[in-house]
C-alpha cells in the first residue's frame, strides 16, 4: 500500500484556474464595456460591477499563468520514503 505512486500523471491545477478566469474575465470585461445599462449601474449605486470584476479576474488569470511560468511543476525525484 505504501509503494510510491506515479506522480507525473496529475496535471497542474494552476493552468486550469488561469484558463477559467481568463474566459470569465474576458466575458465580464466585454459585458462591462458594451452591455451595461443605466439600470445595471443604478442597481449597484453607479459601480460598473462587470467591468471591475472582469478586470480583476483577468489580473488573477495572469497571476496564475505567471506562477506556472516561474515555478513549473516538477516531478519529485526523491522516493516517498525520504520522509517519515
Amino acid at each position: 500500500m505504501s509503494e510510491p505512486t506515479k506522480r507525473a500523471g496529475l496535471f497542474d491545477l494552476r493552468g486550469v484556474l488561469a484558463v477559467l478566469f481568463a474566459v470569465y474575465g474576458l466575458v465580464l470585461t466585454v459585458m462591462g464595456i458594451a452591455a451595461t445599462s443605466q439600470a445595471d449601474l443604478d442597481k449597484a449605486g453607479g459601480i460598473n460591477v462587470n467591468l471591475w470584476m472582469g478586470i480583476g479576474m483577468l489580473v488573477v488569470a495572469v497571476l496564475f499563468a505567471l506562477w506556472v511560468r516561474l515555478r513549473p511543476l516538477t516531478v519529485p525525484e526523491r522516493p516517498e520514503s525520504a520522509e517519515q
Binding site: 486550469v16 474566459v23 466575458v27
Partner: protein
C-alpha cells in the same frame, strides 16, 4: 412587495449567465476526466496518492466546508445577529485548525493511516473503530442527500427547474467526476469552487458597502432599524444575542468552551471529510501546513460572508421588514439570494449562480469522497473482504461511490417530504464530533486509556449530547438560540472524558509497544518532525510561523471588531 416571496427570489438569468454556468461545469467534468489518468491504485483514488501540494489541500480543506450550510447559514446569522457571528470563524475555526496542524497532524500523517476511523482501529481496536466507522459512513451519505436537496431547492427557487430534475442532474455530475478521478477530482474542483465563491462574495461586500454608505452608513442603518438591539449586533463580544445566554460571563464561556473548544475542535480535527484533504498532501510538511494555509483565507472569508448578511438586512426592503417583525415569508436564509438579486448585473449574476451551485456540489462531493474511503477501507476491507489485491478495492471504491450517490438521491427525496427531520438529523450528526474529539485527545496523550474506554466513551458521549438536545426540545431545559448545541457538545465532551478515565482505570491497557506513533509519550520525537529541506525549506513554510501569523491576524481582527 410583501406577497409571493418565493417568486420574488427568481433571478433574472439571461442566456449569458447560463453560458458562464455551462463553461464552469464543462471544466468540472474535464477535471474529472483528466484526474482519472493519475488513478492507478486505491491510494490514488482515495487519497490522491498522497501527492498534492499544500496550497491545493489547504484551500480544499476550507472549501469542503464552504457548502450550503455555511453560505446560507452564516449570511443568515450575519443578518440576524450581526458581528457576533464572527465567532464561528475566529473562535470556532482558526484555533482548531492551528491545533490540527501543529499537534494532531503528525500523528495522522506520521502513522500512515488512511482515514480517521483507521486511527481509532490502531489506537483502540475494533470496538471504537466500528462505532466510529459506521456512524461516520451513515452520517456522510445522509448529509450528502441533505446537500443535494438544498441544491435542488435553490435551483428551483432561482431558475424554476423542478426539484427532481436538479437532484438527478447534480448527482450525475458529482458521480461522474468523483467516480472517475476520485479524491483528486473532488479536491481540484473544491479549489476552483473556492475562487468562484470569493468572486461572488467580493462584489456583494464592496458594492453593498458602497450602496449603504460605507461602514458608518451600515452602523447608522442598523442602529436606526433597531435602536435597542443594535449594540449587541455591532460588537462581537459578549455575543449574548447569538448564544441566547443572558449573562455576559456565561455567554463568553459558552462561546469559548462550547463553540471554540468542543464543537470546533471536534469538527475540524476529527471529521474525516476535512482531515482527508490534509492526508492527501504530498509530505508531512505539506500535511501540517494544510489547515494552517487554509486558516488564512478562512479568517477573511468571515468578513465577506457576514458583512453581506448584515448589509442585506438593511438594504433589501423585504428582509428589513421581516427583521422588524413583518410576516412576509422572507427568512434570513434568503439574505444572500436577495442581495445577489438586488446588486448584480447579468454576467456577474451568472458567476454568482455558478458559485452557489458549485458550493453545493462540492459539499456533496466531499461527503461522497469521504464516505467511499471509510466504507471501502474501514468496513469492507477491515471486516468483510480482507486481503484482496489492491485493484479489487479500487473497483469497490468506484462502486461504493455509485451506491453513495444513489442513496443520496433517495435521501434528497425523503428530505423533500420531511424537511424538519433532515434539519434534525444534521444537528444530530454534529453530536458525533464532540465526544470523538474527547476520545482522540485523551487517547493521544494518555497511554493508559484502554480499548473498551475508547468505544464506551464514544457511545456515552453521543448519547449525552442527544439527551441534552431532546430535553431542550421538550422544554425541560430552556436554552434559546445556538446556546443549546454549545451546552450539548460540552456535556458530551465532559461525560466522554469522565467515563473513559473511569473505564480505563478498571480495564487493561494495550502494551506500550503497540502504541508507538499513536500516543505522544511513546512516540520518538524525530518521528513527529518533518523534512524541512528542498521544497519544504524556508522560514515561511514552518508550521509554527504560519500558526503564529494566523493567530496574530485573528487577534487583531477580534480587537478591531470588538
Amino acid at each position: 412587495m410583501h406577497l409571493l416571496a418565493g417568486a420574488d427570489l427568481r433571478l433574472d438569468a439571461a442566456p449569458i449567465d447560463y453560458i458562464l454556468l455551462a463553461i464552469y461545469f464543462v471544466m468540472v467534468l474535464g477535471i474529472g476526466a483528466l484526474a482519472r489518468r493519475s488513478v492507478s491504485s486505491s491510494l490514488d483514488f482515495f487519497l490522491s496518492g498522497r501527492s498534492l501540494p499544500a496550497w491545493v489541500t489547504g484551500l480544499a480543506f476550507i472549501s469542503a466546508n464552504l457548502g450550503a450550510v455555511e453560505i446560507f447559514g452564516m449570511t443568515a446569522n450575519g443578518a440576524a445577529y450581526g458581528l457576533p457571528t464572527m465567532h464561528y470563524y475566529w473562535i470556532g475555526a482558526i484555533p482548531a485548525m492551528v491545533f490540527l496542524g501543529l499537534v494532531m497532524m503528525p500523528f495522522y500523517y506520521g502513522s500512515k493511516v488512511r482515514s480517521v476511523p483507521e486511527f481509532l482501529l490502531r489506537r483502540f481496536g475494533s470496538f471504537a473503530h466500528l462505532v466510529n466507522g459506521l456512524s461516520f459512513a451513515a452520517a456522510q451519505v445522509l448529509i450528502a442527500g441533505v446537500n443535494l436537496f438544498a441544491l435542488a431547492t435553490v435551483v428551483n427557487l432561482l431558475l424554476g427547474w423542478p426539484l427532481w430534475l436538479s437532484v438527478v442532474v447534480a448527482a450525475a455530475i458529482v458521480l461522474a467526476y468523483t467516480s472517475l478521478g476520485g479524491l483528486s477530482a473532488a479536491v481540484y474542483n473544491e479549489v476552483m469552487q473556492f475562487f468562484v465563491i470569493v468572486a461572488m462574495l467580493l462584489p456583494l461586500t464592496f458594492v453593498g458597502l458602497h450602496k449603504v454608505g460605507g461602514w458608518q452608513g451600515l452602523v447608522d442603518k442598523i442602529t436606526a432599524a433597531d435602536p435597542a438591539g443594535a449594540a449587541a449586533q455591532l460588537s462581537s463580544w459578549p455575543g449574548t444575542n447569538i448564544t441566547g445566554i443572558g449573562n455576559a460571563t456565561l455567554s463568553v464561556l459558552g462561546i469559548v468552551f462550547g463553540l471554540g473548544f468542543v464543537l470546533s475542535f471536534g469538527y475540524w480535527t476529527t471529521n474525516f471529510a476535512e482531515v482527508q484533504r490534509a492526508m492527501s498532501a504530498k509530505s508531512m510538511s505539506a500535511a501540517r501546513r494544510t489547515p494552517l494555509i487554509g486558516a488564512y483565507p478562512k479568517t477573511f472569508i468571515a468578513l465577506i460572508i457576514i458583512i453581506p448578511g448584515m448589509i442585506a438586512a438593511v438594504l433589501v426592503p423585504e428582509l428589513a421588514a421581516a427583521k422588524a417583525g413583518v410576516q412576509n415569508g422572507v427568512t434570513y436564509n434568503n439574505a444572500i439570494l436577495l442581495l445577489i438579486r438586488d446588486l448584480l448585473p447579468n454576467g456577474m449574476l451568472g458567476i454568482a449562480i455558478t458559485g452557489l451551485l458549485a458550493a453545493f456540489m462540492a459539499g456533496m462531493a466531499a461527503n461522497v469522497s469521504s464516505f467511499n474511503t471509510v466504507f471501502t477501507y474501514d468496513i469492507w476491507q477491515a471486516y468483510i473482504r480482507k486481503d484482496k489485491p489492491d485493484d479489487y478495492y479500487l473497483r469497490v471504491g468506484r462502486l461504493v461511490t455509485v451506491v453513495g450517490c444513489l442513496v443520496a438521491i433517495g435521501t434528497a427525496f425523503i428530505a423533500s417530504s420531511f424537511n424538519n427531520i433532515m434539519d434534525y438529523l444534521q444537528t444530530l450528526f454534529g453530536f458525533f464530533n464532540a465526544p470523538l474529539f474527547a476520545t482522540f485527545i485523551l487517547g493521544m496523550f494518555w497511554k493508559r486509556m484502554t480499548p473498551l474506554a475508547g468505544g464506551l466513551g464514544l457511545i456515552a458521549g453521543t448519547g449525552t449530547a442527544i439527551t441534552v438536545d431532546v430535553l431542550n426540545r421538550q422544554h425541560v431545559l430552556n436554552l434559546a438560540g445556538q446556546g443549546a448545541s454549545f451546552v450539548a457538545a460540552s456535556a458530551a465532551f465532559v461525560v466522554d472524558i469522565v467515563l473513559s478515565v473511569a473505564v480505563s482505570l478498571a480495564t487493561r491497557p494495550k502494551p506500550d509497544s503497540e502504541l508507538v506513533g499513536l500516543v505522544w509519550s511513546l512516540t520518538p520525537r524525530d518521528r513527529l518532525r518533518h523534512d524541512d529541506t528542498g521544497e519544504n525549506a524556508g522560514w515561511y513554510r514552518k508550521p509554527a510561523v504560519l500558526a503564529g501569523g494566523v493567530l496574530a491576524v485573528t487577534l487583531v481582527l477580534n480587537i478591531v471588531f470588538w
